[in-house]
């Protein structure tokens, strides 16, 4: 399942709702992304931020997230999956993104979770703007995110059954 929403979410509630009735699940991995209070300006300087605005491309966002999730379901034997991504105005400490993967065994759940986060960071059309004392700036894409996503293209891992 995917959800793109302005509202906050409760990781515990989301997890319970998805796994409570499926006793074939042996492990659940969840990732919760938060707004950091320190901006990495990319040139070695750090700066505290007061707020973040997250913009997205309605329509394409849902399409990309659904495709990424479908890819994970094809590669790993998952019993449940969920991607929630927020948009709009956020503050340091706020939750931005939630990725849940559940499977009979832990390896598939761990790997699929990392895959989903790596891919959504480089393929889902979201853009972060950080507000700091020196003004607002759009966050620059990181080469390390591209590299993290690329390793899943190079050799699709085999999940343990």
């Amino acid at each position: 399942m995917i959800r793109v929403q302005r509202e906050d979410f409760d990781p515990a509630e989301e997890t319970n709702a998805l796994v409570a009735d499926d006793h074939g699940i042996g492990g659940v991995v969840t990732f919760t992304g938060l707004v950091r209070e320190i901006a990495d300006l990319g040139d070695g300087r750090d700066e505290p931020i007061s707020a973040m605005a997250l913009e997205h491309y309605p329509g394409m966002t849902e399409k990309m997230l659904a495709r990424i999730e479908a890819e994970a379901l094809e590669r790993w034997p998952l019993s449940a999956s969920l991607i929630i991504h927020r948009y709009g105005d956020l503050e340091p400490g706020d939750r931005i993104v939630f990725v849940l993967t559940a499977s009979a065994h832990r390896q598939a759940a761990y790997e699929a979770n990392m895959f989903l986060v790596d891919w959504l960071k480089t393929k889902a059309p979201f853009w972060k703007r950080e507000d700091a004392e020196t003004g607002a700036h759009w966050v620059k894409a990181r080469g390390s995110d591209e590299a993290a996503a690329a390793r899943w293209s190079a050799s699709p891992p085999k999940a343990a059954e």
């Binding site: 913009e55 991504h85 960071k121 393929k123 059309p125 995110d145």
Partner: protein, 86 residues
């Protein structure tokens, strides 16, 4: 005459001064690259936003696209910086 919807996100919206515009480019424009060159002539802000295409990603009808890809009347074309979600 063809008609296309152009969307701009993040700092491209700021520089062009618009988030969405409907345009009527000349019929001979058939690729994304050709369209981008034509968009640059719309305003100094457009020219500035599109000066360095290494900083710009594209989508045609909500699918990632490259400058050599075709565009046609009725397409929705989005221009945006590399994504930074997650």
């Amino acid at each position: 005459m063809s008609e296309m919807k152009i969307l701009y996100f993040a700092w491209l919206r700021g520089k062009t001064g618009t988030g969405a515009e409907t345009i009527h480019p000349p019929a001979e424009i058939s690729t994304l690259g050709g369209l981008v060159e034509w968009l640059k002539t719309r305003s100094p802000g457009h020219a500035e936003a599109l000066a360095d295409l290494a900083m710009v990603s594209f989508a045609v009808n909500q699918e990632y696209a490259e400058v050599g890809d075709p565009v046609k009347s009725g397409d929705e074309i989005a221009l945006f910086p590399p994504v930074t979600g997650g």
